[in-house]
């Protein structure tokens, strides 16, 4: 009789642990999803700000056609990559970041443009959006790391394999392009 109770107790304990681990994994997966949507919000915000910026710069530096066209093209490509995988999206957004960086470097040569309040406001807005993207990405990657760890580590890996939890992809940044020296010819 006593043995029966002990077995029953162990079964109950295992069931409770299973439920706790399962819920923990669901929580982790939801946090990853939520973090990804935060990156999404900020990327869209950047896409929305760019036409305004291009128009403002055009008014002062109309003959920087190439730089402006690069930004517009990169934006179009980034928007079309909206539904692609995290890795592909990261790539497209990096190209846009690069093009924007060049645009701001070019803007340095136009004192009138730099004094324009609209331009300054846009600059703060884009810079901050850029920061928000990188902080959202940081939080997303941290969440993915924790979630993936739980999927791989014992004992949660048992629950993960039975409950069909799959590892998530990191939102990579191409360090090569991000750290490169700006190649702006004057």
């Amino acid at each position: 009789m006593l043995i029966l109770w002990i077995i029953l107790g162990i079964v109950l304990l295992l069931a409770i642990l299973y439920i706790a681990f399962f819920n923990g994994l669901v929580g982790g997966r939801n946090q990853v999803k939520n973090a990804y949507s935060q990156i999404d919000v900020q990327l869209r915000r950047r896409h929305d700000l760019i036409p305004n910026l291009v128009n403002t710069v055009k008014g002062y530096a109309a003959h920087e056609k190439e730089t402006l066209a690069n930004v517009t093209n990169a934006r179009t490509k980034a928007i079309s990559a909206d539904n692609a995988s995290a890795a592909e999206r990261g790539q497209a957004e990096n190209v846009l970041t690069e093009a924007l960086g060049k645009l701001f470097a070019v803007a340095e040569q136009y004192p009138d443009l730099k004094a324009n309040t609209n331009f300054l406001a846009l600059q703060e807005e884009l810079s901050s959006t850029e920061n928000k993207i990188s902080f959202a990405r940081q939080f997303y990657n941290d969440s993915v790391l924790r979630y993936n760890n739980r999927i791989e580590m014992f004992p949660t890996n048992i629950v993960a394999s039975r409950g069909n939890f799959k590892k998530e992809q990191f939102f990579e940044v191409d360090n090569q392009t991000e750290r490169a020296v700006p190649q702006v010819s004057f």
Binding site: N94, Q123, K132, F135, A136, F139, T177, A180
Partner: protein, 410 residues
């Protein structure tokens, strides 16, 4: 992160219980002194009710009270886009469920605090002095520190504990006077055992508020260190907060609304003695010395990696308080978290975070002992930090503020 918050919770519970015990004792003694038969328990219940009522008020109104005492004004994004954006950035980095409300206090003294009971009711306030004094990196460091307080649940906990401290002080103050002027006469006619008990009770009543306050301050200091470390993890740039703290520490403007209850909430102690910078760590300070906080953050910046483990290690090695064995980042659970590399400084008045622009780490150049006038530039051989040394500086050697090594100046 959650593990460290959990071990925080355990320590907080121990603290709360010990203060609750002190509170109960005081209530019991007062009740006992008034009526030695059964009065003790009534006194205990009354003291707990007083605390409970105060706690309820603090829970629902504490945040608003702090904001109204300091005359903080809620702002919209258009009022100060940069400050607003930075709060939003750090809320994203911490993964808060809601962006905190943003407040500005019209005061030239640089300081900031966070308040509210949870993520949803949280608010961040900064003085106008802070907003004009700091650059973007530094302001981001300060906001990250405040967001860390919100994320670590410090703000609710500290306000609950400060209310308990308030209840202890209040009850002990009224209780001891009550006993001196009325209760003592009636009880002294009893046997000598009762008298001894009363004397012990009185002594305890005098000491209790002091003990409670010391516990409260000790916890406040630990939470400041922890918020520094968490903040550095959010920004990935410890030098930002370090140079912000240097600027705040060098300012000797006294904040208008400095008050004992609010002191632990600020990023740095709001009290300024005339001509003195805040630097002494003592039992009665709510904050660790700024120099110590800066030293840890700077060294973390030089090491290029940010982690709780790294923060802990730097705190322990060649610290002035080497004798203190207790951990500052609470609990071993925070250990073993992977270290992450830091980013570079933003360039002032330039687009920030745009990948291809050149960034200069100018936040690492600080004036060393400068009292205005000319200076010479010295490079630290060990860590490569650039120091500006005032020509009026008398000594031949100086300690590098980042790595602590000795630099020859001639």
């Amino acid at each position: 992160m959650w593990q460290q918050i959990r071990s925080n919770k355990i320590k907080s519970a121990v603290l709360t219980i010990s203060m609750l015990v002190i509170l109960s004792f005081i209530g019991y003694f007062i009740g006992y002194a008034v009526d030695s038969e059964g009065g003790g328990w009534i006194g205990l219940v009354i003291s707990l009710i007083i605390w409970f009522l105060m706690a309820i008020i603090a829970f629902f109104k504490g945040g608003q009270m702090a904001l109204s005492i300091t005359k903080a004004k809620k702002i919209k994004k258009e009022d100060h886009p940069r400050f607003w954006n930075i709060v939003e950035e750090m809320a994203i980095a911490a993964g808060l469920s809601k962006i905190p409300d943003v407040y500005i206090i019209d005061d030239p003294a640089p300081n900031a605090f966070a308040t509210g009971r949870d993520e949803k009711t949280a608010a961040i306030a900064a003085t106008t002095g802070l907003l004009t004094l700091l650059n973007r990196d530094e302001l981001q460091g300060v906001v990250a520190h405040e967001i860390a307080h919100i994320k670590n649940r410090d703000i609710l906990f500290m306000s609950m504990v400060s209310v308990m401290l308030g209840a202890i002080v209040l009850i002990a103050w009224y209780g001891s006077r009550m006993l001196f002027f009325s209760g003592s006469g009636r009880s002294s006619s009893n046997n000598s055992g009762n008298l001894a008990l009363l004397i012990i009770g009185l002594v305890f009543m005098i000491l209790a508020p002091i003990i409670a306050q010391l516990i409260y301050f000790a916890v406040s200091r630990k939470r400041e260190y922890l918020a520094d470390a968490t903040g550095a993890l959010y920004t990935r740039y410890p030098d930002g907060l370090a140079s912000a703290l240097e600027k705040i520490g060098n300012s000797n403007i006294q904040i208008k609304a400095a008050n004992d209850a609010l002191a632990p909430m600020y990023i740095a102690s709001p009290y300024r003695k005339k001509g003195h910078k805040i630097d002494l760590e003592s039992l009665t300070s709510t904050h660790p010395p700024i120099a110590e906080r800066v030293r840890i953050l700077r060294r973390m910046g030089v090491s290029g990696l940010v982690s709780y483990e790294g923060y802990e290690k730097i705190y322990e090695t060649d610290s002035k308080q080497r004798t203190r064995a207790d951990s500052i980042i609470m609990g071993n659970a925070a250990m073993g978290m992977t270290a992450v590399s830091i980013r570079e400084a933003y360039t002032e008045d330039q687009p920030i975070g745009l990948g291809n622009l050149k960034r200069t780490p100018d936040a690492r150049k600080i004036a060393y002992n400068s009292s205005g006038g000319n200076y010479i530039v010295k490079k630290c051989d060990d860590c490569g930090a650039v120091l500006k040394v005032s020509t009026t500086y008398q000594g031949k050697n100086a300690n590098c503020p980042y790595c602590g090594s000795n630099i020859n100046i001639d």
